[in-house]
Structures are given as C-alpha cells and as structure tokens.
C-alpha cells in the first residue's frame, strides 16, 4: 500500500528557561493510505507533540516529516497552509468557535479556502447530515453536548475533503457510550471516504475498537509498532505490556520455579479449594494448567500450579492441599 505519512528520525526538544525537555527522540513511522493508525502512550509520553509534527503545528527539531511525498519542512508558508487544508485535525476539547452557530463553524474551513458563502453553506449542510446533526445547524456550541460538539468538529474537519484526519485524544472528554458512537462515526468516514485516520489516545480500548495499526510511544520514543493484533497478542516491551494490561490492573510476573500437580478425585465441585488456599496463605499461586470436570457434584481432573518463590509459603500451600485430601505431586522443570 501507498505510504501517505512518513516520519523519519524525528526529534523535538523544547528549550525552557531553566530546563530542556526532549519530547521526542528518533521517531520513525510509516502510515499507509486508508489505515486507522493508533498512537498510544501514557500522558507525557510525547504523543500530542508527535501528532502536531504531522501537520507542523510543532516543527520537529530534527528529522523529516513527509506527507503525500512532500517534505513539510521544505514547504514555504503558503504551501504549508495549503497542505494543512488536506490534513484535518480534531481535538479533545473540540475547539469550536463559541460565538458562531454550528453551521458557521462548519463553514469556517471553507472560508479559509476561499469558497463562496452560498456554496459553503450548502456543503456545510451536507456535512451536518453526514454526522447526524442537521437539525442543530442554527444552534450554538454552548447548547450542545460533548458528543454533539465532537460531531460538529468532525463535520468541520471533513469540509475541505482532507486526505488525512488527525485525532488528538478526540474521545477522552466523552463518556463510554458517546466514545463508541464517535469511534463508529470515524470508522464509517474511513470506509466511506478512504480518509487515513491517525488516532492519539491513552486508552487501549480505543485502539482495540477501530485501529488497524498501532504505535506505542513511551518517554518520547517509539516502543513498538505493528498491527493491532500483533501488538496485542505479543506485547514485547514493558510500555506495551503496561498498556495492553491496563484494564487488568497490575500484574507481577511469578518468579517461583517450583511447580506441583494436583489431582482431584473426591472433592466437592462446590468447594473452592484453590481460592481458599490463596486466601489462607495470602499469596498468589499461578494456575499453569487446569483440566477439571464436575461429575455429579464431584470434582475430577488435574491442575498444575506454580508456587511462590518463598519456601515457607510453598510448603504451607502443599500442606494445605494435602489436608484437603488432594494428591500433590512435585514436578521438576515443568514447561507449560
């Protein structure tokens, strides 16, 4: 597929009065036409700076940004502004003109490109149809809900038929239901008009919902890039893992090497043996394999557990299980 955005060795350093911040370091990205590309990172990771480098709202300190084969740094100001009309952007706080009606907000980018007022209004009305807000044309942004404001912002962003749509935390100020509907709208736009979408977010759920590709940014550097499936199935870096598992809360890797096999024969299916053991010993055990069945109220089958590193705790667990009349067998070098 054709590359639409190419980011090469981009770095951005902010020089403050008494400190310099390296917001981006050696970023390399390639985004193809028609993709929905997620850029995800914790707050302060540099993702907002990165997306602003894609339309040169921030000029990178080093490296190049090529959009549709044009090096943005090489463009004179007028041509850069021309290029920006093809790279739309929507924002977390919508950034609508509060003193203009919804319709006039959508007309604004058309005024910038010098279209006639009458034609602009016709086009704006069409766009409001697309985002499902035709009846709000005469309302002012202050009278709209967050989701509606973002729809207006999307209509405005589409006005000049852009090739690319940048979304900077576009759903972060919205509730989950509204987020879903906005994401659905973005997906629809991507399919209908073939617009390449770049989504900046800190929520993995957003990436999961609509993105085809994802880049994980951490401390100003790209930690991982790939298709969403790849990164989800096998997160390589700590940053990726932290994001993938962000809904599951913390997770610590089990360090213990000692594994046991327990066999269920006569225990009641209704007795939560492992759960009770964990509660009793106040330490986690890792279930590596479980193959049990409930046969007439009696548990049958086996489980393989990885015990904690602490010897005393491990012994306590084995003792507990034996007390519950389970067969316990130590396994050497169990590989799951």
């Amino acid at each position: 597929m054709e590359t639409i955005i190419q980011v090469k060795d981009v770095g951005k350093t902010f020089i403050g009065k008494d400190n310099t911040v390296e917001a981006l370091k050696g970023i390399n990205l390639e985004i193809h036409r028609g993709e929905i590309y997620g850029i995800i990172g914790m707050s302060g990771a540099g993702k907002s700076t990165l997306v602003r480098c894609l339309n040169f709202l921030e000029k990178p300190t080093t490296g190049t940004v090529m959009v549709e084969g044009k090096d943005l740094a090489a463009l004179p100001e007028k041509e850069l502004r021309q290029a920006r009309t093809q790279i739309s952007m929507i924002f977390q706080h919508f950034n609508l003109l509060m003193q203009r009606t919804v319709l006039d907000n959508v007309c604004f980018p058309l005024e910038i490109t010098g279209q006639k007022k009458k034609e602009a209004r016709v086009r704006a009305k069409e766009l409001l149809e697309v985002v499902g807000l035709a009846e709000k044309a005469k309302a002012y942004p202050a009278q709209l809900s967050g989701g509606q404001k973002q729809r207006v912002a999307i209509a405005r962003a589409l006005a000049n038929n852009p090739k690319i749509l940048l979304c900077d935390e576009a759903t972060s100020a919205l509730d989950p239901t509204t987020t879903k509907s906005i994401l659905a709208l973005l997906k629809d736009i991507n399919e209908k008009y073939g617009i390449t979408i770049v989504i900046i977010t800190h929520e993995m759920a957003v990436v999961q919902e609509i993105c085809t590709h994802v880049a994980i940014i951490d401390g100003g550097e790209l930690a991982e890039t790939g298709t969403v499936e790849e990164v989800f199935a096998r997160p390589q870096t700590p940053a990726a893992k932290a994001l993938v598992f962000q809904n599951g809360g913390h997770y610590e890797e089990m360090k213990g090497k000692r594994c046991i096999r327990i066999v269920f024969k006569e225990n009641s299916s209704f007795e939560p043996v492992i759960g009770n053991m964990v509660l009793e010993c106040k330490a986690p055990a890792n279930i590596l394999l479980a193959d049990t069945k409930d046969i007439g109220g009696v548990a049958h089958g086996q489980m393989i557990l990885q015990l904690p590193e602490d010897e005393i705790l491990a012994e306590k667990m084995i003792h507990y299980l034996k007390e519950k009349k389970l067969e316990v067998e130590e396994l050497d070098n169990y590989v799951g």
Partner: protein, 221 residues
C-alpha cells in the same frame, strides 16, 4: 441659575463632552486596536513571536500610561498645536486624549484577545488559516463581547479624562464645573454637571453591557 442661557450652555457643553469622548475613543481605537493585536501576536507564544517588536510596544504602552494625564496634556501642547493648529478648545483636547487612551486601549484589547481559547486558535491553524484570518475571524470574532466590555470601560475613562482636560481650556462639562463651580463658587452648577457626567457614564455603560450580552453566544441561555 435655571435661565435659558445656562441651560443652553449645559446642553452645548454636554454635546462638547460627548464629541471629545467619542472622537478621541474612535482615534484611540484606530491606534490601540492594532497595537493590542500586535502585542498579542508578537508575544513569545503568539502567532508571530517577535521579541523586539513586542518589547517596543510593551514599553510604549507602559510609559504613556504611567505619565499622569494632566502632565501629558502639557507635554503634548507643541504636538497638539502642530496637529490642529491651536492648543485649546475641544478639538485640541482630542489629541492628548487620544494619545493617553491609545495605550490603555491596547492593553484592554490585549487582555481581551488573550482570553480567546488557545485551542481554537490552534484549530484554525490546523485548517491552514493565515495569521490575518486568525486575527479577524478567531481573535476578534471570539473576543467580541470582551472587546465591547473593554470599549465601555474605555469610554468611561476617556469621559473622565475629558472632564479633566477642562482645567486647561478644553471645554465640555469638566470646563463648566471648574469655571462656574470652582472659580465662581456656584455649587449648584457644579452638582448639575457632575450629575450630567454620571448620567452619561450610566448610559454608555448600559448600552455597552446590553450589546455585549446580546452578542455573547457562549452561554446556554
């Protein structure tokens, strides 16, 4: 005191005050509005950062405002004479009033424009808007209620200054208050002029508030 001549004079001088106030506010905006805009766009995080231009404008705005108006009035006499041909009378007063009010207005405009959401400016930039478009359509459009509120404050202040200018033969209600009320001990005339000045400020304030309310679309009401 309520003879025809006095009443006619009060009416005439009220007109003179209004003439001085409105004309000098107009000219002060001709200078102060662009100055305020340049202060905002040349600032460090403005659209066109320009430290030298900013420093110069900033310095001018501060220095003119820190000279007491009466002193400025005297200092400007040669300049006033150069511009209008004489240094007394209502028209001559417009010159120092304008000079004194312009930097004040520049600051009012600056603070109004700085209230405009940075995000909206950024959105306009992302759409490829030129600096000129952003100034006209985003800054002035979005700040309009604040600008009108500022203009109301400016009118009130300039009206006060114009009364002060009466002391040096500027004409208008301030002149009447000093000549009749102060030099001739006619307290009743002084009170009437003060009441007239208060009424003028009230009317201007009323119109200003009404207009800025009407134009404000940021509220849900």
């Amino acid at each position: 005191m309520w003879d025809n001549a006095t009443i006619m004079m009060l009416i005439k001088e009220t007109g003179t005050t209004l003439y001085m106030t409105l004309t000098s506010t107009f000219f002060a905006y001709v200078i102060g509005l662009p100055m305020g805009i340049f202060l905002v766009i040349t600032a460090k995080d403005g659209l066109r950062p320009h430290p030298v231009a900013y420093k110069v404008l900033d310095f001018i705005a501060n220095i003119v405002r820190s000279v007491p108006f009466l002193i400025l009035l005297m200092l400007l006499i040669p300049f006033t004479r150069f511009v209008v041909g004489k240094s007394y009378g209502a028209t001559a007063t417009i010159v120092p009033l304008t000079v004194a009010a312009a930097p004040f207005i520049a600051r009012l405009v600056e603070s109004s424009l700085l209230e405009v959401d940075r995000g909206v400016v950024e959105a306009a930039q992302s759409m490829g808007a030129s600096t000129q478009t952003i100034v006209w359509k985003v800054f002035l459009g979005e700040a309009r209620t604040s600008l009108i509120a500022g203009a109301t404050i400016a009118l009130g202040t300039i009206l006060g200054y114009s009364a002060m200018a009466g002391a040096v033969g500027g004409g208008g209600l301030g002149d009447v208050a000093i000549r009749y009320g102060y030099y001739r001990y006619q307290a009743d005339i002084m009170i009437v002029t003060v009441v007239l000045l208060v009424i003028l400020v009230q009317i201007l304030q009323f119109i200003g508030t009404k207009m800025s309310r009407k134009l404000d679309k940021r509220t849900t009401g």
